[in-house]
Amino acid sequence: MIAVLGLVIGVVVGLFVQPEVPDAVVPYLPIAVVAALDAVFGGVRAMLDGIFNDKVFIVSFLSNVVVAALIVFLGDQLGVGSQLSTGVVVVLGIRIFSNAAAIRRHVFRA
């Protein structure tokens, strides 16, 4: 209950406050979003596996977002930003896919 409430609160805050994202951060926002989704799927799967841990979830979420943004930032500084962000998106995408597959197995038993 509290979890769903927290999600709703987050969406509402994002929608209504609409924080002005600084221009320097804008390029890393999509990567951060993908990393956040990865953390969420991992958390849900861990929950279904019965090994969920709130601390691990929070820390993995934060570190995922920060590390993904940092990698892309580093790539931008080195001139390979687009390639590196492609790599990050590929890795996170594969993880999201396999986590989603595990969730699907738990939910549908198939």
Partner: protein, 364 residues
Amino acid sequence: MPAMPTPSAPNGRYNRPDASMSLLTNVMDHSLDEGYAEAAAARGGARDSRIPGTLRGLLTLGAGLALVGAVVTVGAVNAHKAEPTLAKERDALIQRINDSNSSADHLQKQVQELRRKVDGTQQQALASAGDGDPGGLTGVVGLGEVTGPGVKLVLEDAAGTGVGGNVDPRAGQGFSNSGRLRDRDLQLVVNGLWGSGAEAVAINGQRLTALSAIRAAGEAVLVDNRPLVPPYNIQAIGDGPKLLAAFENDMAGQYLRLLQERYGIKSTLSTQKSMTLPAAVGVTLRTAQPVTPEPSPAATPPAGQAPSGSPSAGPGTSPSPNASVSPSAPPSPSASATSGGAPAKRRPSTGTAKTTTATGAARP
């Protein structure tokens, strides 16, 4: 851990069949954060904690999910906001391209129209120019239409050398040793015609003036930078039979026979009762100046013409009196038409125009 088989042997190191894809396998196998498994192991293998039981755990989860929701929403909102501006910029760019294109087209059209107008006006002015020597002079120098008897010479490339100039320029041999007419041949023939008494010459309907150049570029023969398409139809106005005889006895006539014998270049020479040669186009006046510049400069169209310009005002349609042109520096009226260069030298005496065609350097 999930129910995924980990193929790594505990201590043996056997070669996995997918060893070259270990990166992909690794990414696929370790999709779940390992922290969960470690935390579970630390708890002592309790596998029932689906949802954190304590209030603190629940609050942490809620805060984390709130953070996730905020990040995802902000990202989505940001992307949504950026979309219209991007599309707007793109549309603006496309609009600018289209605008520039159409304005360039418009200017191009204007240039063409003005050029035609200038040509027409020039022809008109020249037709009425000359201080009592109207008409005749412009015909001689090529700035007016001329009609009269003469000689028609048709030159054809030898059979099997490509039709209509559609020869691949990179196909090798070029002009050399082929049965194609070269620019040099055409120069020689035209000079022979002038020398035999021709008063006006046109090649494929293109009038030659004292400044015309016959050149070659690649495989094409150019007259005044306009490519010719065989067969070459050379018309020369003069005293028909006399011109014909003179030409055949001239060096150029013999040269043509040689071409026919050796390369199979066909030439057909015939007299004509009456031919009409068009005026030369694109002749620029360099030394001629209007007599009375104050009331009507040369640029203004004559009175009979609408200022907006019917561009197809033909040469010499209506010689209007206020556009008279007369030479300023040299006393001879011919200078007004021969346009620059050395006017006195190539002033044609009316009988035989011994002007040599200004031919460019042969070929590269």
